[in-house]
Symmetry: D2
């Protein structure tokens, strides 16, 4: 779904709760609010009397759990996951949480991110006799933790020190919930409270959804342990400068989430304002590509004193069962998900705000659509710098060959997509829009726009993009 | 779904196409774009070699047609319908188009509106031996047309002259498509072209969806006939002043549709601007209740020079299979469809724009939600006048007893919903926002706000609100 | 399903119950036991406080009602139907009971049989302004009854006197249940009791299924009325000699049903015994084609003192979702529903009992299958006379052109299907096997074997085979 | 389903094919024919270019594969499994084939049987760091094989020598298919050919289903390897006397299968004949409890010269979606799966043949049902000896406490179930009915009737009944 529009795909959202009577149900609602982070599969594991049971399935959260009785998933501790599957790993076996049963204990894992050295580690483990049932890099961590003995903060720390990449991990062992964030803090992971219970989630919108309150961020290199003694913090790696993924702000997260203490909608609006300052244009109105570019478009309109209008509309009822129009019908003019609003754009000079451009095909389609609907001029303004490099930290972008920003000058891009003018936000502009307070927000990972990787790949194998 | 949020429900959308190879498929996409007009059921009837066949089912358009092969619905003429079912008429038999098979011909009917004298007519027909398979008032028209003999423009006109109310009818007889609009033009109905083919639809968004171009409105009291001789216009009633339903602009239609030559989003933005002029307030920001109030909120913000912000977010994945949170969970704070954005509203004086208030329960819930999320003040501004009277023309509002606007002063309403201040748009403000050109737009039906009915009910029986 | 094997299809089963708390549920189980009579659709209508509501759908009884809450179908009176749809009438609108709602009363109809003059009657009704929503001949009777005024025993009798053919009708009007059987009693219809409640059903297996006891047969030309005054009998036509359809015994009914006081299994066993007397053959063992020929095969074995063996097995799990093997796979040897048992037939001289032959294609396939499995000889014995003529009374057989028995001598048939020898049961043999007591059983309709029609078609139009 | 009637449940069927273009489709049909061996889940793994991919799901074969495109499962080698799940192991993760992916190869396992020392082995493996994703004993073998290095005939043999119990294993490693049978040959496993391809299956009915021909049995203690060099036989254990499970003949297998060269229907018929000799009774007719007792009933009738009749009928349409009658309705007389045929049994002295009695509750229900239907006397004859002991080899019987045969004398059993007389077949009778040729059939495992276990449990833990 997202792939069609953008070519960028978030890979997974995690949710954990410790100590609530309605643990599984709250996990359902929490996952539901993070549905945008992964639409291929979902699962919940609960722990009751140290016994772990779970249910997972391919599909949207609603569909996965529509016939599940939450009474069958009782227990006060739960772990949940929504998954976006990259190619090669679409099977149900890869849907998380992964659940492992031993005669003496149960363990479940949920992961958002990407391990760069997963293949090397797996080779080593397989040589020693480990057998794998998934192609997920998450299973590697499970083996590493078990190999080093019982699962404790020590063995988890040891295992985490062997993996490299970007990750937010939730681990449920018997009745203890662990949460860990990579040393550069690239992926988001926040802690909240609901009554006496603890909640951990990829995005704070999950807290708002269930009525929980935000407590604090998990810190880079921190391992959190939650059990009957409350929450304890361990450090498995020196605390590095936090470099949260910029694309989480630009495109991936929900506008109502706060990531590392910064509201996503507000940061997007600032991106739009910065863009209006950096790249003004004489035009009649400002429109945004729904949904992710609306905030930036409003910001651009406010700053430029131009009216913000609803020039493109998104069909809310396009879902799994929508019959995609055939090529023939599309050529006849049948629209997919987005439609232009002729009554708004006809005869007008339009500034079209988009959050980013990946391959350029969608942007081109939208520009043509607007011109077909009578727009006199279409000025494209992108609320982030050009994407020029691949991501090794869990975002499924296109390969470098396909990235329009990696292979063309800005002028060429404008020509390719048919814009009357085009401009991108600068790197400084993006960073300023995100970072409110240097002591807290420190920095952002903009590797896909700058090629500067917080965690550099050591060799070709580590550049191989695997899945969450 | 809509009912939960608002208590107002559009009743049905119609779509017809004559002379296109892909008639059924285009009807599918056309209905899809009008899904918001009716979510209880959908159907398509096609005519091939004068033989009519169809498929209909309860559910959303996507679900209804997900396993239908359009090759089984071939024919160049098609009729479609999306239905909102009021109580008492939820059965599949009431889903439209209604299809009647005689030994010599086939006839199908699709209807948006409400016949006020349906019960009286039905009594008469039943006495004469007519038997009915539905509880829909649409079946009454079928009997009337057949009773007067063969179905022609004459018999249709005769039948239409016996019914009273608001209606947009599409009738497919063998290979002729008829379209008729009530003498006051209360319901919307537009004509478009796609290549050589004709299209008729409740909203123009259906034309944009399939790449058709708008041609003109069907006029009040006009009967359109489309067959191999092209389009012919008949008049079955004197052309009255057009009084299109104001609620279509305020709430019901899609923002990208043009109704009677006026774009809906633009009219909503004007409502917001008028409201800002009429009822300004000193505050920090403006927010709208998604989705229908966003345009008015942007208009208000533009006029008042206050920032427009995304202070409430709507969960896009709430659908049929969503498990509604139990009362217990809602009390714990689990949200349904709308969530406040704490990062935006916390500590702020908020102007909350809503398009209308029916019973007030939803407004009250949203105000509380915003205050819980930290809003310092919540000033409610409604982009239309108070709803005080029932609708007899096909909009399913609550009864007079339940209408908060019928039973309370504005101040009382503000208190009930917990707003720090409240104001409604004036009747003149609304009319000005809709009517661009008096020669074209003439007037609007605001009966539910003024009690002035363009087609007055003759007795109690005609006030009985039936379904489309 | 049946069609594949045989080419004969029963058309519909009816079930009614008056005066039981669990009316809808018992109807469900009753219909379930008559599933073999119609697998295309099913429906139940209940009456409560004279208000009729119902549910029907395409599919098997189980699937139709799997998500229906019987609490939503409460009422002490219920009417049910299982339907086999012939070509041209597969739509949901044709699934029964047909339900008609007038302002003053509700009426539902369920029908098993065929009206020969339905087209002529419909022409007349349509001329008078009646409009039809189905292509079912059942709707004709509804119009006839309503035309003659209120629905009473008088108007029903009058309507029945206008229709011609074979029929078992159940009619539910407000809170009265009527049952009517055609003057020749061609179709089966029995009355039972469960506690104080009355039950009427096409087959007595429905009584056994729900724990009801058989009371008596509905008589030819009889109209039964059941309401708060109990059961009253009327006669709408002179009582003719009962001529129950022979194919009900031979093939269509369940072996545990008693039709007109004769058990079906027992009659089939007698057919087998008669056949053994008429057409003995020197062989090693006797096998039957499952399921309907098993009883006759056992009878043949008993009479001939040859062992009865399970030489052909039927796969019990072949259902709606079974993926039919492609032509390519069938040629490779993949079996459909029936498989030969090599361990039984290899090297043996086999007598294969079948109940009837329609087109001969299935018989031929089975003979080849047995020979491929090593049978040395295959002697085909058919437990009924050759089918030579079409049925106008509601059994969907092939047309005369396709009937192998209408176009070939017995020897030719044997050659076509590859049998080493072949013989049919004589007409007398069949009649003797069915008729136990002349005063009760009187006669059987063997029109499809003899061309002697109890109700003769008047013209070509009446020979047109319509559906139940 | 079966559980309701009997309380005995087969645990799983396996199917493998090597070297056929349509490998996955033929596996589907093969599994379909063995559906009776396991109805809880099914799966297929295919190998193409040494890459293994698969699909599995809970449910019947038809339902599991109804939306699978076999084109997505292409490859000339396939492995399939149908599963019956005992309590505690109902999750999808336990559905087989289990699939393991390493960086260098893929391996899949399918298993029918039970490992008695699975828990002990698992404890050992977990101590060494193995992690398990299922609770199935099959996963233990996978770890054992992988631990000993690469998967070859040597490592498989080594692993098989560590497990104890009854098993038929199919192992697919890259492009090699292995088949192994336990040293006592308790579970069935046969080899067939279809064209050039090899097939291995639990029952020969799978060969007939797909048009394959039986080649030979896998021998006790034999390991078969099939790859591009053809079929090679290895011996991993000395060849013991084959002691095939008697219950496979009595109840579990399909009548058309040949197990160890003996046809199941024929053996059952001999059981009936032996029983007639051992326990004759003066009566009017013989009936069998469908489906598994029909063959024995026919044998009893033949031997006793009494008529065989269809006195109990089984509803063929009872399936997953059947709504089970409530206790209240059952007490009213609503039948479940089996109905008595009043027309047959009324006033008669009936010999009722059943294949076995487990808890006695079903037998009791049937006897009552027959008496309610008017049977004058019901003489129960069981075509196997009383079940007195649990099975450790993969048949899910009740515990010893629940076995009526373990806790009551034959007379007591007769009284409990309400029979007028009762008799069981003797052990010798059963053995004689099965064993045709001592050199081939050698012996049968009758441990559940005699307590004499071919592979004796060493301790309490090994008596713990786990699942296949």
């Amino acid at each position: 779904m997202l792939a069609e529009i953008k070519g960028i795909n978030e890979e997974c959202g995690v949710f954990g709760i410790w100590g609530h009577e309605k643990a599984a149900e709250l996990t359902y609602y929490g996952l539901h609010s993070m549905q945008h982070r992964g639409q291929e599969g979902a699962g919940i594991v609960v722990s009751k009397d140290k016994e772990l049971t779970g249910y997972k399935q391919l599909g949207l959260v609603n569909d996965v759990f529509k016939q599940v009785k939450f009474d069958d998933l009782n227990g006060k501790i739960a772990l949940g996951h929504v998954r976006y599957a990259t190619q090669g790993g679409k099977g149900l076996e890869n849907v998380q949480p992964l659940l492992f049963q031993s005669l003496t204990s149960g363990m479940a894992l949920a992961h958002n991110g990407n391990l760069m050295n997963a293949t090397a580690l797996r080779e080593e483990l397989e040589k020693e006799g480990s057998i794998f049932q998934t192609t997920s890099d998450t299973e590697v961590l499970a083996h590493l933790m078990k190999r080093s003995g019982e699962v404790t903060e020590a063995t988890i720390s040891e295992a985490l020190n062997r993996v490299k990449g970007a990750y937010a991990y939730l681990i449920l062992e018997d009745d203890t919930l662990y949460a860990a964030l990579d040393p550069a803090g690239i992926r988001p992971l926040s802690i909240g409270r609901i009554g006496e219970a603890y909640v951990v989630a990829s995005e704070t919108c999950a807290f708002d959804q269930i009525g929980a309150t935000f407590e604090r961020e998990v810190l880079p290199g921190e391992l959190i342990k939650i059990n009957q003694d409350g929450l304890t913090s361990f450090r498995f790696a020196p605390r590095g400068k936090r470099q949260m993924c910029a694309m989480e702000y630009v495109y991936l997260s929900r506008p109502d989430s706060d990531l590392n203490y910064v509201n996503v909608h507000a940061s997007r609006k600032r991106m739009g304002k910065e863009l209006a300052k950096e790249a003004p244009v004489d035009a009649d109105l400002v429109i945004g590509v729904p949904d992710s570019s609306i905030s930036a478009a409003i910001g651009y309109a406010e700053e430029s004193k131009l009216p913000y209008e609803m020039g493109i509309i998104k069909n809310r009822y396009v879902g799994r069962t929508f019959i995609q129009p055939s090529q023939e019908l599309r050529e006849l003019g049948v629209k997919m998900k987005l439609s232009p609003v002729r009554g708004i754009v006809e005869g007008k000079r339009v500034i079209m705000i988009d959050d980013s451009i990946v391959r350029g095909t969608t942007s081109r389609r939208i520009v043509i659509m607007l011109k077909d609907a009578g727009a006199k001029e279409v000025h494209v303004r992108i609320a982030s710098p050009a994407i020029t490099d691949p991501c090794y930290y869990g975002i499924d972008m296109s390969t470098k060959e396909e990235l329009i920003g990696a292979n063309n000058s800005i002028e060429e891009i404008g020509e390719i997509i048919g814009a009357d003018s085009i401009a991108y936000l600068s790197e400084e502009g993006l960073e300023n829009a995100i970072v409110k307070d240097k002591t807290i927000n420190q920095g952002v990972c903009m590797a896909c726009m700058t090629g500067l990787y917080p965690v550099a790949p050591a060799d070709e194998k580590e550049m191989d993009i695997s899945n969450c």
